[in-house]
Symmetry: C2
């Protein structure tokens, strides 16, 4: 078990554009922060910068809403073109109420609006929205490999987003992409200090890392979209954010 955790926001992170080499920008940012990367460090990236680098911005003017999108938009009081994109990014609509659409997205995540957010997208007069990376675990794995090449340090990578929760107000940083650390730490069978077997047996390690990183990001990750963390336990073993998805047959709340 580690005794200290140090988080550093990479200062003056540039505005990210489609096609940017994000690993290089992170490497440069680590240099500006005076951080010498080491194996088992973790880099947390706001989903928005990953999506931007991957060209996941969509111009609303190019979106033609389907009849179903128009119908849901009337209930949700949202732009039908945004609802169309939410539907394209989703397997199932779980709840639709005024100002709220909760879906299971293509990655299995249950979340509002399929993670699509209109705020903080660079304008140029055009109305655009950002989709989640198509495969955020693959994005994290690529960033991990690229950072390894650039820095020589085999770090963990977490891509986070702000998720709402069922019974609690406010959003919390949550892992949507993971590489190089266990997303879910299985403690089953480990005895506790008194030799009893632990009842609470799985820790959502990557979600806790995502939440910790979020504390320094500022809202939406636009202040400091990349955070370096030293001291996260168990980094090195591999995992994926997909491991955190509760299987449908274990889900009591749909």
């Amino acid at each position: 078990m580690t005794h200290r955790l140090e988080l550093t926001a990479l200062p003056d992170f540039p505005t990210v554009k489609a096609g940017d080499d994000l690993a290089r920008l992170v490497h440069e940012g680590l240099g500006r922060a005076g951080v010498e990367p080491r194996a088992r460090d973790v880099v947390v990236l706001a989903q928005k910068v990953v999506s931007k680098a991957e060209g996941r911005a969509v111009r609303l003017a190019d979106v033609v809403p389907s009849p179903r999108a128009v119908e849901l938009a009337a209930t949700a009081l949202k732009d039908p073109r945004v609802v169309e994109l939410i539907l394209r990014e989703s397997r199932e609509v779980i709840r639709c109420r005024p100002h709220v659409i909760i879906v299971e997205d293509l990655r299995g995540y249950v979340m509002a609006n399929a993670g699509i957010d209109a705020s903080n997208v660079e304008g140029d007069g055009e109305e655009t929205v950002l989709l989640l990376p198509a495969d955020p675990d693959a994005s994290a794995a690529r960033l991990r490999a690229d950072l390894d090449r650039l820095t020589g340090a085999r770090m963990g990578v977490v891509i986070n987003d702000s998720f709402g929760r069922a019974w609690r107000l406010g959003t919390c940083g949550t892992a949507v992409g993971v590489a190089g650390l266990p997303a879910l730490l299985d403690l089953r069978g480990r005895p506790d200090r008194n030799g009893r077997t632990l009842m609470t047996s799985e820790l959502a390690l990557a979600d806790e890392v995502a939440a910790a990183g979020s504390l320094l990001m500022g809202q939406g990750g636009e202040g400091h979209p990349v955070i370096h963390i030293r001291g996260v336990p168990e980094v090195g073993r591999d995992g994926r954010a997909a491991d955190l998805v509760r299987p449908r047959n274990m889900d009591l709340f749909r």
Copy 2:
């Protein structure tokens, strides 16, 4: 916005007993860790040490289960005496399945088993379980005032517990008691970098702090039950964990 966050686990924290002066133990632990407390630092405490200090352990031999507890225990495959305590700590049972009882507890928190956990309670031959503090926000406020007296530093206090989530596997550190920092950070009306009004408008700051602290605690907070954090934004303004409870009329998932 802060740029750095430093978390330090207080080393060699003693086993806490009913009646112990927890603030004094924290003060001594800060000394052992070489931390000089400052205003706007935050101390995160595992619920278990607060509950133990407050004498919230219950001997199962003293519990007589009601007929309803016996009935639910048969469905949940749990000890009827534990189920009796869960019912006493709850306003409503939301789901009951084999190995799972989800309730709204007396504090409004929706959680498994009303936060009652049999693991890591000190034995002495007796079977005991620990209840949550009766009023964890009041516990946090008392600890804050006591720490202020002992250290001269007006710190924030978060009491955390490991909560499961509706659609994601694994537990995540979650705030059950808060004093001296906003539990919920209201960002509504603050424009983003492009002058748009933010859509995601409330941040569960105390839950993110609780999750960050959990990373150093080890399972159940028994390894390092108390964590000192420097660098949390917005500390100083007051808030309560009760602020994080989603009102029933805004809850789509019961």
